[in-house]
Symmetry: C2
Subunit: 632 residues, 2 copies
């Protein structure tokens, strides 16, 4: 009798006949029970809750498809029950979950008092209604992901059943053994990839590419311990390409297992991966994967909320927690065996509340090994406070704009762009800078749209502002979206303004076109407010170089000399400063026995490891790529 058969038996025995259970299936890490009795559908019945406690597995009760009423009829019922003032913009069905998703402008109205409307819908249609807020800006990526999943429901269902079967396989070993192998981002910034192995599982944390070093683009996939066929799960800390950029590559080369991340991470990484493929195509470089592989990754994604414990292998449980770095960014908590060992990988994190996000979480039920990023872990990385940084930003903006210059801010589409937008909107509304036009170019708008799709992942103040005060800084009219070469040339030829453009490290894209356009103007400025990876043009200019090779869209090379004033405002970084990292390690509960540093230049990873060791007396190590250590 396999484990699913056993489960079926237990569930059928524990639940009264009246529940009319028709089937029990795996659905990724969860177990879905199908019922024909409306009272059991929806997972809030006491007997189900007891079963969850007993089995220590996540169980959801779905309606048996045969009793669900027809989609068109359901839409009619919805329109009858939900008042018109709820302002429904979209109705979508998820047949796998038996859910009908109602997107509307006034969710409160659609839900009704104590959810009375929802109960009524469930009763009449046997679909479980889920109400979501219509985002103020529509995201093309979100629409794409939705339509793709809509078409592939059957395939996803069967994939999730396979995945579930693998997750719930019988545990083979009694003794726990845990190994960590450094595949990428150790003593460097880029190609984040950590292999975690126990004697029965193998999982990968992040799978990024090397932004600043195309020669070492890939993590060390040729490491002997890495075997794509053995991989049980891939977990994504956040969407930046140095963490997510090679996930589709895994699917291209045979991986067919689950990808765990938050929903915003799924949307943002899909956007960035599609863009990466486009850039490769445009530059005539072979892309490491195609759009088909990106689609395949989305199909295998199991979205997780923060704080929810999920079985991902017979001996590993996963919980994501807020990391405060970008939208959806997470700390990854792994619980091994019976809790004999627990590990947190921070990914990139900010241990300070920002305009957009809450500070990273620092409380865990258990913790033995902490793996922390070290981007600003060097002794010289003293980062000014937010207050200081904002003051500095105001000064730079005003002094440049008043000289008639332009301020070019190269930004990553995701993260700093939105942070700076909120700051600028605030400055202008409080009249702290002159009301010049602010141009937003590149993928920033699309990323911003994804932000407005997931307001739950923003901090409470910003949510309050958007929902209850009706002031959404992202939709402010001070921002002008730019498209195309001609528009850019007009801006370059025009008057004082602020230009936010990708790519954030001047690795191609509109930011480079603007740079070339305004390079000659000594009254204009370039302002870096996010980390510049070693090897990028951004880093070169930041370090003081004033000449660079420019390749036009037709491939013509020219030497550009820049007269721009160059500024760096570190305080807006989404990374923890050295003192924030140390403060995080001091405050994290419980105190870890072992700390590993990664994601920083070699000197920073080693310097940080050394200061942690001195102050905390915990074992610390700065591994090198290719190294394997035994945790237990």
């Amino acid at each position: 009798m396999d484990s699913l058969e056993k489960l079926r038996k237990i569930i059928k025995e524990s639940i009264p006949k009246s529940a009319e259970i028709t089937d029990v299936l795996y659905e990724g890490p969860e177990i879905s029970v199908y019922s024909k009795n409306e009272n059991f559908i929806g997972n809030d019945h006491a007997e189900i809750k007891n079963l969850v406690k007993k089995l220590r597995k996540r169980i959801v009760v779905r309606s048996d498809p045969s009793i669900r009423i027809d989609n068109d009829e359901t839409v009619a019922v919805l329109k009858k029950i939900i008042p018109e003032e709820a302002d429904i913009t979209k109705i979508m069905f998820n047949e796998n979950l038996g859910e009908v998703i109602v997107e509307c402008r006034k969710p409160g109205v659609a839900i009704g008092k104590a959810g009375e409307k929802l109960k009524e819908i469930k009763k009449q249609t046997f679909w479980i209604p889920r109400v979501i807020r219509t985002p103020p800006i529509e995201s093309r990526t979100v629409a794409l992901v939705r339509s793709m999943l809509q078409k592939e429901r059957q395939k996803q269902k069967s994939e999730f059943q396979k995945i579930g079967k693998r997750i719930h396989r019988q545990s083979m070993k009694s003794k726990l053994n845990i190994k960590v192998t450094a595949l990428g981002s150790f003593r460097e910034v880029g190609r984040s990839a950590i292999l975690i192995q126990t004697n029965e599982s193998s999982i990968l944390l992040d799978c990024g590419l090397n932004v600043g070093n195309s020669k070492d683009l890939y993590p060390l996939f040729d490491n002997g311990n890495f075997n794509i066929e053995d991989l049980d799960a891939v977990i994504l800390s956040h969407a930046h390409l140095d963490h997510s950029g090679l996930v589709p590559f895994l699917y291209k080369y045979g991986y067919g297992g689950p990808l765990y991340c938050t929903e915003p991470t799924m949307h943002l990484s899909t956007m960035l991966q599609l863009d990466y493929c486009n850039i490769c195509e445009r530059e005539g470089k072979p892309a490491p994967y195609s759009k088909k592989d990106i689609k395949n990754a989305v199909l295998h994604t199991f979205c997780l909320e923060w704080g929810k414990v999920t079985d991902i292998t017979p001996d590993i449980k996963l919980t994501l927690h807020n990391a405060g770095h970008i939208l959806g960014s997470s700390l990854i908590h792994l619980h091994f065996g019976n809790g004999d060992h627990n590990l947190v990988f921070t990914g990139d994190y900010k241990f300070q509340r920002t305009r957009l996000f809450e500070a990273a979480s620092c409380k865990f039920p258990r913790l033995e090994t902490l793996i922390t990023e070290s981007t600003y872990g060097g002794i010289q990385d003293v980062v000014p406070s937010r207050y200081e940084s904002e003051k500095q930003l105001i000064q730079i903006l005003n002094s440049t704009l008043r000289k008639g210059g332009k301020v070019l801010i190269p930004v990553l589409a995701v993260g700093r762009a939105q942070e700076v937008m909120v700051v600028l909107e605030d400055f202008i509304s409080r009249k702290m800078i002159d009301p010049v036009p602010i141009f937003v170019d590149g993928m920033i708008s699309e990323a911003t749209a994804i932000h407005t799709t997931h307001p739950d992942f923003l901090n409470s103040e910003l949510r309050e502002k958007i929902f209850h005060q009706g002031k959404n800084p992202f939709t402010s009219e001070i921002f002008t979206q730019v498209d195309g070469y001609q528009a850019r040339d007009d801006i370059i030829a025009g008057g004082p303004c602020v230009i936010m453009a990708t790519s954030g490290m001047l690795q191609g894209g509109p930011s480079v076109q603007y740079l070339k356009g305004i390079a000659d103007d000594p009254n204009s400025s370039i302002l870096f407010c996010s980390y510049q990876v070693e090897g990028t043009l951004g880093r070169r200019i930041q370090k003081g170089f004033r000449e660079f090779q420019h390749y036009s869209s037709t491939g013509k090379r020219s030497l550009v000399k820049t007269k721009l004033a160059v500024f760096t405002v570190e305080g807006f970084s989404g990374h923890s400063s050295r003192s924030q990292i140390i403060s995080f390690i001091r405050k994290v509960k419980p105190r870890p026995e072992r700390v590993l540093t990664l994601h920083g230049e070699a000197s920073k990873c080693m310097g940080l490891a050394s200061v942690i060791h001195k102050r905390m007396k915990s074992e610390t190590r700065s591994l090198q790529n290719g190294e394997t250590i035994v945790l237990k």
Copy 2:
């Protein structure tokens, strides 16, 4: 054109036509040139020496087989040229090397003044004569290995050609990367195995089994970095089973490459492996390999002398140096790339001159990483001096013998047995202990015979005594070789005596039969003078347990209580004491940047690493099995 073709071209171009070169072939790491001109044969011609310097490869010039005279005729020539007083005991031919080996009692007479006899033999026969001394005791193992190789010359020749081709393959990578993976003997004593990988080579240092823990008998062969098909070379530090015991297992599972070690190590490990197979058979346990696999290992063995640099892969050169632990034991020095990194693995070593051996070497041309054993590396491991230990031994012997008791000394067949024999022979000849019979049981005699076959590997004093004073302690009449159960029972029933018997840790064998036989006699003693591995009966008794389960030859179990006085004399150990290890690390030239500790209980490996770090300020680590570190 492959690398051999290139070599042929260069060699033929560099050497005059008169040399009559007929062929150039690989012979393992060496290159053998075949010539029909007697002046070129034998590798001392100036043009060949220049070529060796130029190519930086080892070249030997052999006679073309077609010009060598018939074996019987050669024997006749030998007998004519070598005077009868040389006392020839054996004449053997090695067709692969074109050598005729003359074993005789007076080598000096056979060689003649300035080697005149040898030159004459070469001239008349076209065989290169090699004269070796007839050992005073004949070894069955040496005879077995010789006859086996004699039968398999053709096969060995073709295997060595394949091996040579692989060694001299084209180097693929320009950048050097070196990884060390701990497969066994890290934080434990047993199953010594270290995997060393560069970006183009993969070699294994030692391949031992776990003597004290049959549950973890094997090194971590399932480690992802270990891949038997990728293995270029196996190097053996010395013959003890915890270092050599699983070498034939590699050949059983498909390894077909070279095994590098000294000649005594080949003989001793073959003896111990054959004995291990016999013991498994006797105890009804499945042996991990058969005699056929041991034979296969011998066939692929390339014996090295100390101090000779050998190419073993395109980017690794190997040199063995004296380790002072047992006969033929070696420190392994590896030189990577163009000398960018150098590593020494000590194996087991004694950094002190003993009765048998010189102290371990401590000078190397270059050295960055040192891997040292830690058997006695604990802070409490204060080992008395040799002088103290000998005094203590005399006291124990005299007090026991004078009470009419027997002294049982369990010894490993190889190492301590011979050391203690030399000590006892000295004591008796100097009348420091009473002249009681000394019984030698188990494989000790055979191991002793192998010692007498390789006098060059003993220290200068002992060699002087044997060769020039004609006093061979090993052949002294005070020792009586014992065979069979009945003889043992007679000894047990008899009067005061010293019994040296294997196994050294009371893991079966005659030592256990004696222990059971004399256990009841409070006047008798058991004396441990070698390291007792955790988990063995020897260790239990040493720690104070006075009861044990005994299984008779018929499998009958009985509980034995012992009344014996238990003594441990640490000073005879073949391992360096803690202070000797530290002194070695202080004196080793040049000073290594990094020290790794292994081959010791966990606390000793870690304790030793810690003290080295404090005193030497070098990076030190006590790896765990399964861990991988990057050296460069």
